[in-house]
């Protein structure tokens, strides 16, 4: 069934890493297979942050094929060579697990072409590119993933996350949420529900040059919105359009470098509880997610069917 959570601090930064971890851990019963974070962190905003993986986590109930760890080094080398070829200058690199990396780099060209070239290397997937977005996803619960990637100390303005129960695709990182809104920097999406016109939409979008990295239906939302925005729609316009363009049941969150939005399908079939104040908006599949960071008595509500909302930082 999956659990989603998100929060946005308006006008200030906070410990979004630890806050989102608490929210997602409270939703663990909704999705124990994998956990993902999209954190909009306090970076200097000068360089791009690229998070990418060169293989899968093959432990923790993974459905991925086991690989010799030596292939990770080979693929990393290929990525480094490609980056040089594309004129990207790596300022800092961190290897967080044998298969996942965080690069800080200077780059001033077309992100779509850049991504296509990098992802043409076997088993390499860019999880995110942005100047504030840090997208982390792996198998395990929120606490395990946070500890593995050192997310507890991350400060920022907003974040969205996902606790996944694998239903439509495998237990692996490529099917885990959030999804990056390729090829837009700093755009991420999490989703709870099922989309029933996935293949129809995917064929159309692929013909328009958009790319899919997984067979997870939720990835469609990120690609769908990205395509709308590529054609000049605002985020909110794209989200409103998705209510009729996407068929099925869904509640999803989308975040950009300075905003956070939610959309709920016209059947209101998937849960969402919302708390709104002047300086904080917090939302999750269940109220216990919000209570994990706001234990005091607060007023919350369920958005209605077909509702779209967007908040700015």
């Amino acid at each position: 069934m999956c659990g989603i959570a998100g929060l946005i601090h308006r006008g200030k930064s906070s410990n979004v890493g630890s806050e989102l971890q608490l929210m997602l851990q409270a939703l663990k019963h909704r999705g124990p297979d994998s956990t993902g974070y999209a954190l909009y962190a306090e970076n200097d905003g000068k360089n791009f942050i690229m998070r990418f993986k060169v293989g899968e986590n093959v432990g923790e109930g993974s459905t991925s094929v086991n690989e010799d760890a030596s292939v990770y080094d080979k693929r990393k080398k290929l990525v480094d060579n490609m980056l040089s070829e594309l004129g990207a200058k790596v300022i800092k690199e961190d290897r967080l697990t044998p298969y996942s990396f965080r690069y800080e780099m200077e780059f001033n060209d077309d992100l779509m072409e850049f991504s296509k070239k990098i992802e043409s290397i076997e088993s390499v997937e860019i999880l995110s590119i942005g100047k504030s977005l840090e997208l982390i996803k792996d198998l395990g619960d929120a606490a395990a993933v946070s500890e593995r990637y050192g997310l507890g100390e991350v400060k920022g303005t907003h974040a969205i996350g996902h606790a996944r129960m694998a239903t439509e695709s495998g237990v692996d990182i490529k099917s885990a949420h959030p999804f990056w809104g390729y090829p837009f920097s700093d755009v991420s999406v999490v989703h709870n529900g099922q989309l029933t016109n996935y293949w129809n939409n995917r064929r159309v979008l692929e013909n328009k040059g958009m790319r899919f990295m997984s067979e997870c239906d939720s990835e469609l939302i990120a690609v769908y919105l990205a395509e709308k925005m590529r054609n000049g729609a605002t985020l909110e316009e794209g989200m409103k359009d998705s209510l009729t363009g996407l068929d099925g049941v869904f509640t999803y969150f989308v975040a950009t470098k300075d905003s956070l939005g939610m959309a709920k399908d016209t059947m209101a079939a998937k849960p969402l509880v919302l708390y709104e104040s002047d300086d904080l908006v917090a939302m999750g599949s269940e109220e216990i997610a919000i209570r994990s960071i706001l234990p005091q008595e607060i007023d919350t509500y369920d958005p209605f069917d077909g509702e779209v909302k967007v908040w700015q930082i």
């Binding site: 209101a268 269940e286 919350t300 509500y301």
Partner: protein, 284 residues
């Protein structure tokens, strides 16, 4: 009424308004036998005193432990229990088949006070999905908002939300009354079979979709009618009943109930067409 302890079996039954005669033929009936009265009492029902009051802090308890503690307190005769720090936990206060004053100082998660029969409940907060699902009797008052499937499949009692509720309120409702002070989402009264729903504000799309029977009253705008839901004229009895019910619910002191829209089943769905005339009569 006759003294039930000493009266003859037939007198006992008739005093309680029941039959003792045996019918033959096609009609199949099972008759009440007063000697088997113990079969009609709830297992686990306790004799409680409403004036005996206690607090229960459930902050560090899971729902099973909290519900077990509520049961223990009732067994000790506590008739008023105040639950502190529910903090949105799921399935709190479920399965209470007893008279009881139960007060939650905070919000509940999913399936709060589900499958209850008898208690008076007040939630000084919000409730999540499926609040009071399968409720048989009693009164539940929610001071703030409620999630979707509010009062799903309730059979009886009064379920009141002073704020707004989500989608599919009163889905599969089989009796009782649901009252909402604010707005309600899509598919309110979906597949409703009996009972009444009062929405003082607006409702979303597909109101009363596929309802078999029952009545829905709406004070505000209606997004759209669902399949086989139709408008029906308000009668004096509707107005008198609504006034009394809203007063009991502590809602709408100055609300003009005569302007509400009354929605009932059109009874044109296939399941009605497929029934024999005698079956139609007994179907609802």
């Amino acid at each position: 009424m006759a003294n039930l302890k000493t009266a003859e079996k037939k007198t006992k039954a008739q005093s309680m308004g029941l039959h003792t005669e045996v019918l033959t033929g096609k009609t199949q009936q099972k008759f009440f036998n007063p000697d088997e009265a113990e079969n009609f009492f709830y297992w686990g029902a306790y004799d409680v005193d409403f004036n005996k009051r206690t607090d229960l802090d459930v902050k560090d308890m899971d729902c099973k432990e909290a519900n077990r503690r509520i049961d223990e307190l009732m067994s000790q005769g506590y008739g008023t229990i105040v639950i502190k720090n529910p903090q949105g936990k799921h399935s709190l206060g479920v399965g209470i088949l007893n008279k009881l004053n139960l007060i939650f100082e905070g919000s509940l998660g999913y399936f709060g006070v589900g499958s209850i029969d008898g208690p008076m409940v007040r939630v000084n907060g919000r409730v999540g999905w499926s609040c009071a699902e399968n409720m048989m009797a009693g009164k539940v008052v929610i001071e703030k908002n409620a999630g979707s499937c509010f009062g799903a499949a309730i059979r009886g009692g009064d379920l009141i939300c002073k704020g707004s509720v989500g989608a599919r309120t009163g889905i599969d409702q089989k009796g009782g009354t649901i009252i909402v002070g604010g707005d309600a989402g899509a598919f309110t009264g979906f597949m409703m079979q009996r009972g009444r729903i009062i929405i003082m504000g607006d409702v979303g799309i597909n109101l009363g979709d596929s309802m078999y029977d029952g009545t829905i009253y709406v004070g505000g705008k209606i997004g759209s009618y669902g399949s086989d839901a139709i408008e029906s004229p308000m009668t004096k009895s509707d107005i008198d009943w609504l006034k009394r019910k809203l007063k009991v619910a502590e809602l709408g002191e100055n609300f003009d109930v005569s302007k509400m829209t009354k929605v009932v089943a059109g009874k044109k769905l296939w399941n009605y067409d497929a029934l024999e005339p005698t079956e139609k009569k007994g179907a609802i």
